[in-house]
């Protein structure tokens, strides 16, 4: 019976999801915006979302927080034309709202900490004003139905059908993949139910589980998701996943991070060990030292004493006889 309940929940969420979709025209506008202009471009938005992901990981927030933050951001950007200089404040604002909605109170970090860690230039009052604006524009509709909602539901359905193989579908892995997808604005255009299903199907195919495949084909028909739609999004997700998994790392090239260190450490950094020595280099001749008559004896004993181990026999060799006798002179 649990499966039945889940299916009902699935259906009701399906009806709700349209309310939380960012406006498609708005998203297209962003995608077509040039990068050097005043407006928010796709690259800009993607870079910001990656920052949000870093912050989420750093503070240990749940996937739900991140997904909600991105949803709020996309919805806001799709309805308002904003200048790119405000994007930082807007994105942190969305994150902060999402954190307050989703996380337990004890885990909510302060605005001050958020601003400090993200190395943002705006103030706390800027942030709260922006949060108010965002909240008003989005009509305080924070309990969004997102791809994560569907992912959890799908996963629960899969579990209920295959009770003996509990850990076959790894939810953590799927969530990580979803987060990676959301860093690209193209996926914000997808219906959450379809996006989640695409992710799931890819994973099921990788696992080569025929049972699960069948289950989800049935779900797809039940939810009336078109084959073409699914195929389209699956293709894009597949490509995204390939880049995500590739051992080749993308060199971090977005804004330069600021490295603030304490004064003491900064002082020590500047005392370079590679100070140019005042003493000019003395080249070692290939022929030198072996032809001189005065030091030939000491030369050989010199080589010996260094190559022998430091220890019991060191005493005699390290202090040449003439030195010892000198030491006795007044």
């Amino acid at each position: 019976m649990e499966a039945f309940k889940l299916m009902k929940e699935l259906k009701s969420n399906l009806e709700l999801e349209v309310h939380y979709l960012p406006k498609e025209t708005g998203l297209s506008l962003i995608e077509s915006t040039q990068e050097n202009g005043n407006g928010v471009s796709a690259k800009c938005r993607d870079a910001r979302v990656e920052d949000l992901l870093s912050l989420t990981n750093f503070f240990g927030y749940s996937t739900q927080t991140f997904v909600l933050a991105v949803n709020l951001l996309d919805r806001f950007l799709a309805m308002m034309k904003v200048q790119s200089k405000y994007l930082a404040c807007i994105s942190i604002g969305c994150l902060h709202i999402a954190v307050r909605v989703t996380e337990e109170e004890c885990n909510v970090s302060s605005s001050h900490e958020l601003i400090r860690i993200s190395q943002s230039k705006f103030t706390i009052s800027d942030l709260s004003r922006m949060e108010k604006i965002i909240s008003e524009k989005l009509n305080f509709q924070f309990k969004a139905v997102t791809a994560l909602t569907f992912l959890h539901l799908y996963h629960a359905i899969a579990l209920s059908h295959t009770s003996n193989r509990k850990d076959v579908l790894n939810l953590d892995k799927l969530e990580a993949q979803l987060k990676a997808c959301l860093c690209r604005i193209v996926f914000s255009k997808a219906k959450p139910s379809v996006l989640a299903l695409s992710l799931l199907m890819l994973e099921i195919e990788a696992l080569q589980s025929a049972d699960l495949l069948e289950i989800f084909h049935r779900i797809q028909t039940h939810l009336k998701i078109s084959k073409a739609d699914l195929a389209h999004w699956r293709g894009l997700v597949n490509q995204c996943m390939r880049e995500y998994s590739s051992p080749e790392c993308a060199k971090p090239d977005n804004k330069k991070l600021v490295w603030i260190v304490s004064r003491r450490t900064a002082q020590n950094l500047h005392s370079s060990y590679r100070c140019i020595p005042e003493l000019p280099t003395i080249p070692e001749g290939a022929w030198d030292e072996s032809e001189s008559e005065d030091s030939s004896e000491d030369l050989s004993s010199g080589e010996e004493s260094l190559s022998s181990s430091l220890g019991s026999d060191a005493g005699g060799l390290y202090f040449p006889s003439n030195f010892r006798s000198r030491a006795c002179r007044p």
């Binding site: 990981n57 260190v261 020590n268 030198d288 030292e289 032809e291 005065d294 030091s295 080589e303 003439n322």
Partner: protein, 503 residues
């Protein structure tokens, strides 16, 4: 004459200048004992100026002046012999000019006179330190009392060595091993100006006297070893290392075995010296020079440093980290692969250090472009080593600057390899959860044990039969703490009502 007027000037000392002279803690040249009977007051009479003499007389006059300067004056006593001290000072100054500006003055007979004069003036047994706890960063060094003369002697000797007419083949009869040995001993002087001169002089001698090079290297090694393993005291380590830096820079390839031994047996162990802060910059320079000469030495050097990594001295740890960054700046990628794992294990520990300077310095590695590129190339190996500690201290470190730096590092690593990062996050979280769960279970068990004991106590007081049953169950519990035994479970559930009552 200038001598007299100078004497007149210093005749009427003000009280203040006397006090100041005493405060300067000048040390006496130990050629004079304070209370012993002095020889008759040394006198030197001013000789005619060299520039005034004819070319035939100049040579003889030069020799005379050199001999004259062999008279030593007692500077510990600041008021005696002022006239003669000034004469000598003027003479020395004149000699410095003479040997710097003129050609053809270095004829053979002059060499022994010069070396004798220099020997007489500078070679002495250094007195023991007046301040055994001398801290070079805080305290003023004890300066050489006879510096007014000694400085000129050193200056003179240096100009002599650098004179274009200087002939090492002639000089080597006088500047021999005995001379060099005494010179090396002087590096223990507390006066930094003296050491500065000695450094330059020894550098020139090493450069010009090929026959003395091996000897000099061996003696310096002896002094290092004595410093490191016997006395823990020597003031001239930094100066020696500076000279060695210029020597290492000039090594021919392939490197001789002797030099590699020097690196492993002396330079690396020198890192363990207590006074490392005084000469670390020079030491690090030497090490890096070696690696630039022969990159195959990288592995032994890095492993050596890791072996000697300071465990209780944070100031040293910061120095080691600085040196490691310098080494990484010049490292070859193939060499890097050999040492990356032990190295980053140590860096991971440093990053988690509660001493904020150590943590900062370690985190700052990620601001170095070249190091970053090396990490990137090998991120699959390095990320797992760093991850745990970084993630932990992002939550737990007391210092907000550190937390911000950790963010930078985590963000950089995240962007290098998102998938690996996510996997590590997931496994870290599940590990933590497992630990937490174990912790909770353990506490729960103890809580229940506690309550069982309470029950037992109250049962005894109430004289109930169940006492024995409880007691034997408790024994069961004590013996098998981690056992999910049914008996235990049953016993616990039996007590559950009383438990709630007890709470």
């Amino acid at each position: 004459m200038s001598a007299i007027s100078a004497a007149e000037k210093v005749d009427g000392f003000t009280r203040k200048s006397v006090r100041k002279a005493q405060r300067q803690r000048v040390q006496g040249s130990s050629q004079f004992a304070v209370n012993s009977s002095r020889p008759a007051a040394p006198e030197i009479s001013a000789l005619p100026q060299l520039k005034d003499a004819s070319s035939t007389e100049q040579h003889a006059l030069f020799m005379q002046k050199l001999q004259q300067c062999c008279v030593i004056f007692d500077f510990y006593d600041t008021v005696t012999d002022l006239k003669y001290k000034e004469t000598k000072r003027a003479t020395l100054s004149e000699l410095v000019d003479y040997v710097s500006t003129n050609r053809g003055v270095l004829v053979e007979p002059v060499y022994p006179e010069i070396t004798t004069m220099v020997c007489t003036n500078i070679f002495r047994t250094l007195p023991p330190s007046e301040n055994p706890d001398f801290d070079p960063e805080e305290d003023e060094p004890t300066l050489e009392a006879s510096w007014p003369h000694m400085q000129l002697v050193y200056e003179f000797f240096l100009r002599f060595l650098e004179n274009p007419d200087f002939q090492p083949s002639t000089a080597k009869r006088y500047i021999d091993q005995k001379f060099v040995l005494q010179l090396l001993e002087l590096f223990d002087s507390e006066d930094p100006r003296e050491r500065e001169f000695l450094k330059t002089i020894l550098h020139r001698i090493y450069g010009k006297f090929l026959g003395l090079r091996a000897f000099i290297r061996k003696q310096i090694n002896n002094l290092f070893l004595r410093y490191l393993y016997e006395t823990e005291h020597f003031n001239g380590v930094a100066e020696f290392l500076e000279i060695l830096g210029s020597i290492i820079n000039g090594f021919a390839l392939p490197l001789k075995a002797e030099h590699k031994q020097f690196l492993m047996k002396i330079l690396i162990p020198l890192h363990t010296a207590k006074g490392l802060a005084l000469f670390h910059a020079q030491l690090a320079y030497c090490v890096v020079q070696f690696l630039e000469k022969d990159p195959t030495l990288t592995e032994v050097v890095v492993r050596g440093l890791l072996k000697f990594w300071p465990k209780t001295c944070s100031q040293k740890e910061v120095m080691f980290l600085g040196e490691m960054e310098e080494i990484l700046d010049v490292i070859e990628p193939t060499q890097f692969k050999k040492i990356q794992e032990p190295l980053f294990k140590q860096i991971s520990k440093c990053v988690a250090s509660p001493h904020f300077q150590v943590a900062e310095r370690a985190l700052y590695f990620w601001n170095n472009e070249y190091i970053l590129s090396l990490i990137e190339e090998n991120n699959a190996k390095i990320l797992p080593i760093m991850f745990g500690n970084l993630y932990r201290i992002s939550k737990e470190h007391w210092n907000p600057t550190i937390v911000a730096l950790v963010y930078n590092v985590l963000k950089t690593l995240m962007e290098m390899n998102s998938k690996l990062f996510d996997e590590l996050t997931a496994s870290y979280k599940s590990d933590r959860q497992r630990e937490k769960k174990k912790e909770q279970e353990r506490e729960e068990l103890w809580r229940k044990l506690d309550e069982l004991r309470l029950q037992e106590t109250s049962a005894i007081q109430n004289n109930r039969h169940e006492m024995q049953f409880t007691y034997s169950n408790k024994n069961n519990n004590n013996n098998k703490l981690h056992d999910k035994d049914e008996n235990t479970a049953a016993a616990i559930t039996d007590r559950s009502e009383s438990d709630t009552w007890a709470e």
